[in-house]
Every structure is written in structure tokens, then in C-alpha cells.
């Protein structure tokens, strides 16, 4: 699996400007970050999975991403409980015991509700990020970032990284195979520490060959006038069009809706079903 594999498909989402997608991503994640309302999280989760479908991103392509995120969330879930088992009670101002474990480690409905909400909070952001990475043409994105006053040298660096990512991954595989041929064992048969050290050994040649590569690209870019002027134009720039407006309007509506719920219904960030 490769992580940043933009490939063009003709869907509404692919056709949107990179800037629209970035703003949409920021707005929706902003909503998720600010509020603490499980209903909003569920809504965003459903919404983002719908977008995945519209963008023709098959879920099986994302198996590994979901696996890693899943592991992270589960670990996070237990650690959160371990470090502050009473946080839910603190937040919601009540305590409804489900069962006792020992010491302060009681399990309350408040804590459980708080942690399930938190889990969904993280889970609902991931698909949004995936959509952004999978449907945005890196250079087009660089050009649209540039329009909102991010210096083009920075945006171009981002685009170049995205472009070279698959090459570097491929190179890593080859280097790693060559090391394995010499007897370096990175399979699950050896200890974690051993595997870690071996993986680092594989990184050394990768870093050196990447440095060589960077040197060549930098020269090639300068020879063709990169960084000559303070601004530049973009071949693949796509101006905002009607669908961009619609997309932004939808996102704004979600933001407004969430804000209304926070102000008028929840009277704060948290949705409290325990009052």
C-alpha cells in the first residue's frame, strides 16, 4: 500500500479546487475539534464516509490505514482511562456507577460516554484526511495554497515531497530486500529491538540516496528559474468554480449548525445527556 497515492478520477470531489478541499477539511475538523457532541461526531462520520463513496475511494484500499488507526484508538482508549478514570464525572458533573474495579478505578456511565465520544471524535476526522490526500493533485494543491499567501517555495516543497513519495517507498523496498538477502532479518521471528535496529540499518542507504536525489532536483529547478521571482504562475491552477462554492456552502452550513447546537442546545462545548 502506498500512503499518498493521488490518482485522477473524474468525480465531483476530484474536480474541486485543492483550496476548497483544504478549507472544507479545516472547517469540518474544526467543528470536530471544538465541540464534544457525539451526535455531531456521528453526523460527520456518516458524512465523510459518504464522501469517500462519492470520490470512488474503495474501502479495501484503506484496510491498512484503518487497521493502524484502529490500533491507535484502542490503545488511546485504555490509556485515557488509566490516567484519568474520573474525567467523565468531572466534565458532566454527575457519577453513575456501572461497576467497581479498585481504588479510583470505578467504571461510570459518564466516563464511558466521554471516552466513546472521544473515540468517535478521532475516528470521524480520519476519512476527511484520506479524502484530501487521495483526491488532491499535489501541484494543483500547491498552486491553491499559494493563492492564500503561503509562500510558493513552501507549497512546492510539499508538492515535491508528495510526488517523490512513491519513488522513495519503492527504493526503500529494494534496499530492504538487498539487506535481507545479506541476512538481515526483519521478519517477525526476531525481537522487536532487533527488528528496529535492522530497519534503521536499511534507512542509512535510503537517506544517502535521497540526499543525492535532492541535490540533483535542486540544481534542475534552479537551472529552470525556480525562486527567481517572488511569485510564480501555475500551469495546473484551477480557479474556484460553482461546485467549489456549493461545497464550501455545505461545509459552512455544518459549521453554523454545530455552532447553533453548541450555543442554544448544549450551552457549551459538551453535550450532556446526564442532566
Amino acid at each position: 500500500m502506498t500512503l499518498f497515492n493521488y490518482s485522477y478520477e473524474d468525480t465531483v470531489i476530484h474536480r474541486l479546487s485543492g483550496l476548497t478541499k483544504l478549507l472544507g477539511f479545516l472547517m469540518l475538523t474544526g467543528v470536530v475539534m471544538y465541540t464534544y457532541d457525539i451526535r455531531i461526531f456521528l453526523f460527520i462520520l456518516v458524512f465523510s464516509f459518504t464522501l469517500l463513496r462519492i470520490a470512488h475511494i474503495p474501502l479495501r484500499k484503506l484496510k491498512l490505514v484503518f487497521l493502524y488507526v484502529g490500533i491507535f484508538l484502542v490503545i488511546n482508549f485504555f490509556l485515557a482511562y488509566l490516567f484519568s478514570p474520573d474525567y467523565g464525572t468531572e466534565v458532566y458533573g454527575s457519577s453513575t456507577l456501572i461497576f467497581q474495579i479498585a481504588g479510583n478505578y470505578d467504571v461510570t456511565w459518564e466516563q464511558l460516554f466521554y471516552q466513546v465520544s472521544k473515540l468517535l471524535k478521532y475516528a470521524s476526522v480520519i476519512p476527511l484526511g484520506i479524502i484530501f490526500l487521495f483526491t488532491t493533485d499535489p501541484s494543483e494543491f500547491a498552486s491553491s495554497l499559494n493563492t492564500i499567501f503561503v509562500p510558493y517555495k513552501v507549497t512546492y516543497a510539499v508538492a515535491l515531497t508528495l510526488r517523490h513519495f512513491p519513488d522513495i517507498q519503492k527504493e526503500y523496498t529494494t534496499i530492504s530486500k538487498a539487506q535481507q538477502a545479506r541476512g538481515l532479518d526483519i521478519s517477525k521471528k526476531t525481537s522487536f529491538w532487533h527488528r528496529f535496529r535492522n530497519a534503521v540499518a536499511t534507512m542509512v542507504p535510503l537517506i544517502f540516496s535521497s540526499l543525492e536525489r535532492i541535490d540533483v532536483i535542486t540544481n534542475a529547478m534552479h537551472l529552470r528559474g525556480f525562486s527567481k521571482h517572488r511569485t510564480r504562475t501555475w500551469y495546473s491552477f484551477r480557479p474556484m468554480k460553482a461546485p467549489d462554492g456549493v461545497a464550501l456552502a455545505i461545509c459552512l452550513a455544518v459549521v453554523a449548525g454545530a455552532a447553533c447546537i453548541a450555543i442554544f442546545v448544549n450551552h457549551g462545548r459538551f453535550y450532556n445527556p446526564f442532566v
Binding site: 493533485d137 499535489p138 501541484s139 508538492a159 515535491l160 510526488r163 519513488d167 527504493e171 529494494t174 534496499i175 530486500k177 538487498a178 539487506q179 535481507q180 538477502a181 545479506r182 541476512g183 538481515l184 532479518d185 540499518a201 536499511t202 542509512v204 542507504p205 544517502f208 540516496s209 543525492e212 536525489r213 540533483v216 532536483i217 535542486t218 540544481n219 534542475a220 529547478m221 534552479h222 537551472l223 529552470r224 528559474g225 525556480f226 525562486s227 527567481k228 521571482h229 511569485t231 510564480r232 504562475t233 501555475w234 500551469y235 495546473s236 491552477f237
Partner: protein, 580 residues
Amino acid sequence: MAKDPVIEFSGFSFTYFAQKHPTIKDLDLTIGRGEKVLVVGPSGSGKSTLGNCINGLIPFSYEGEMRGSLTVAGTIVKDAGVFELSKTVGTVMQDSDAQFVALSVAEDIAFALENDRVAQDEMKERVKTVSALVGVEKLLGQSPQELSGGQKQRTSMAGILVDDVDILLFDEPLANLDPKTGKTAIELIDEIHRGRRLDAGVHGEESPPRTTIIIEHRIEDVLHRDVDRIILVDGGVVIADLPPHEMIASGLLLEHGLREPLYVTALRHAGVAITAEMKPAYIHSIDLTQGREALREWYTSVTLSEPPPPGDDVLSIQNLDFEYYPDRPVLTDVNLTVRAGDMLSVVGTNGAGKSTLAKVICRFEEHGTDSVFFRGEDAVDMTITERASFVGFVMQNPNQMITQVQIFDEVASGLKHRKVPEAEIERRVVKVLEICGLERFRQWPISALSYGQKKRVTIASILVLDPKVIILDEPTAGQDYRHYTDIMEFLKKINELGVTVILITHDMHLMLEYTPRSVLLSDGKIIADTSSSEVLTSPDLVERASLKETSLFHLAGKTGIDDPKSLVDRFIEFEREAVR
């Protein structure tokens, strides 16, 4: 001297920052407007530095001290920057893969325009025109990485032509190309030099030739088309600056570690004195009225020795199919038998499946119905590590293999991983270092070694595992004649010690001079498995494997030798006996 000079070095020296001695010393050189010159020199001669002075990378990217003066198209380089010069000088660098910056061909061609703040509409228009000029107009939407070698060359040329520059600078344009693509590249460079200008299609006007500078050590390949002058650089000074015929006749190229055209070498072997009057620079121009008899005499005097008896099967592949993605086969029904003591070339275009074949043999690529046999035994159950004890793979770029700081540790690493006892490791590493001529450097840091020495280290680190077969991917890519000979003679020695050597290569000289047998891959199929001399004198095979005929083939035609293969065989025999 050239009239209307456009590039003028005068008493020019350059010393890289942190280096004691100048790389270019007190250089005087003038290149006139519209000239086409070939700059040649061995590795480290300063020829690339010369190029980087012309395009402004020096002193922009490489700091150092400049003395004397250099003017390019009226601009004094010391005061100008790389940007100012990029409007006048267009540079195509060696590694066209690495110089692509964009995700699509169109965008890459437009790169210089983007940096110049050209409006989008005009940009699209100009990209269209220039892409039609070099013949990539149908590929605009593709990713540069997906192109063939030749298409990549064309795209990078379009990327500099889009600026309508006056001076074209090619820094080793042939380094990564197969012979046939290289030949087309030289033709394309020639046409663009002759003034197929950007606006020719639009206005239909004739325009003067563009100044063209080609830096290359593959002299014979560049001389596929005419050049005005050849400039020989070595040790940072101009050794000779002569018209091509005089340069070839002078014999200076060989003296400075460069390879002469093969037909010239053959004529010299036959005792023919090469003079400028014979017009020896191009195979199409050379006059052989004097040389013909001598060559024919020499031809009959060389007797071919018997080939050694074939060894036992050491590696065989039966009915191998391989694909990365369903229905896109990379290898189809490959059958190959390699015998102990063989030294053979696997040749074919980029993407023909050469590297994949090697990777499948070594299990770098997992394959379900593997049909690889080591000494007649099915290797299907052997892991990548187990296979490596039998067949070693040396990658093209040594930096992709080296993980340790010191030479000894690097070479020992395969044994350490295999838990071989200390004392035995010591013994085996020392022995391999001796074979590889590296014993003096035992405790050296690898970073202090030259490219060729690093290559030896990687070969040593494979040899220490005592494999029966080693496969090398492009072992001599980018190397000049001297380093090429070093590496190849070393491999020959290893081969004589009993290791079977398989070389993945585009290099026709290598095929001819070192590997009696060649296996040709095309679209994942083996289309020929025969003697190298046969391959390189067969127009059909040459065409299908994207090679080019050796100039000895044409020499045979010109001197009335009916059997070009036999001439090639005798040439190889003679070189083996007399020269080495």
C-alpha cells in the same frame, strides 16, 4: 578562432570551496555562435565543472573561487546569476529521471514558464507548440515517470526549449539511455541544433543554428552526427581543441583514458596509420582506400581459439511467468540455462524485464509458481537469505547497498547476520578483500572511497558469502573507459576464479568485450540467446532489443569482408590475446 564568440573563457580558473587545487586551471576557450562542440574527458577531468560554469550553477550552487574571466552571450558570469543565464543557456542534465519536478509532462515542460510568471493561457499555448516540436504532444497528461527513456529525453528537451534559449548544454545526455535511444537522442539534438526553432511551425522561417555543447565520454555515439569541434579536457586544462577528424587521428583520446570509435581501434590493430585526411571521425565519412588491404590481411591472420567446454548447469529457469498486476505480464515463459563459469549479458530496453528477472531469481520479488533451479534443485522453498548464499545481486548504485561505516564491517555484515564464528569471518573477509584489491583499505571509512572502489566493496560484500553466481545491474553505468576497464577486468578475474557472472547492461562494448553470450529480452520474452558478436551484427536483433549495430559491422561492409560476425569475433580474439 571562432568568429562571433558567444562563450569565452579567458585565463579562467575555478577552485571548489574546501578544495586545495583548482578543478579548472587557467583555461582559454572560445565557442562561437551556432557551433556544435563535443567536450570530452575522463572522469574528474573537470568537464562537468566546465558545464556548470557555463550554466551558472557555479557559483550559485557550488561555492568556490573564480579567477580570470568567463563571458556567456555578453554576460559576465561572475556578476550574473543562474537565473539570468537560464534565459540564454538551457541545460539537460544526465539523470533525466531526477530532473522531473512535476506530476505531468505538460506541467514539467511549463516549469520554466511558471517561474517566469507567464500567464496560464499563454503557457498552455507554448507547451502545446514545443511538445509538438519534440514529439511528445500525445503524452502531455502522463506522469514523466511512466515514459520510456527516449520520451523522457524529449520531455526534458522540451522543458528547456520552451524558453527559446540560444545555447544548449547537454551534460552526459547518453548516460542512462540504451544504444538505440541514445542514437535517436543524438539525432534530435542535431535537429534542434540545426535550427528547428520553436516558432518554425508558426512562421515557417529558417533560423540560424543554436550553439550546442555536448559533454560526453561516449565519443563514438555522439559522432553518429557531425560536430564542429572536439575539445579534450583533462586535469582541468584543455589538452586539445581540434576538428573531429584531426582529433581522432591524433590518438590523444586513448592517451587520456577515453575510448576511440571501435572501427578506429580495429584499424589501428591492423597496423593502419590513421590520418586526418582519411576523415576518420565518422563511420560514414572514413576513407578506406589505404586501410582496406591491411585490414583484410589482419583479418585473415587472426585465428579463433576453441571456446572452452561448457560447464554444468548452475542456474536454470523454466517457463517462468511473472506479473506485478493481473493481466500485465512483465515476464512471459522465460527459459534460461546458465552454466558454471559463464559470463553473460542480459540486454533489452528499459522495461523489458531485465531487472525483474534478476529480482525473481534472487527472490526480491515474491512469486507463486517460482520455477528457478539451482544446480538442478528447485529453489521454491528457499528464502531470500538462503538464495543469496547461492546467487548474489549487486545493485547499480553502491550507495543503495552500503550500511556500515568501515569497509571491513560492511563486507563482514552478511556473515555476521549468518552467525558465522568470528575467526572464520576474519579469515573470509580478509581473503575477499585481497581478491578485490581492497586489503589496504581494510580499516578505512567507506565515505573516503571513489565510486569504483565503493562498487568493489559492494561486490566484496556479496562475494564473501561465496555465491556460485553473481548478478550485477549495470555495473559500469556512467563510468569512463578507464574505470570501465578496471571494473570489468576485476569481474573477469572473479569469473576466472569460478564464479558465474550475469550482467544486466545496455553497454554494447561490454557485451562485445567481456561476455561471449548475450540473452535478449523484449517485452518480457527472451527473443535471442546467442553469441554477442552474432547479436550485434544482426540488424533484426539489434532493432528488437533497442541496440545499435557495432561500427565493426559497417567496417566489414566498407572493406568487403562478407562475414561481419567473423570480423567481430576476430577483433575480440585479438584484443584478448594482444592487448591485455
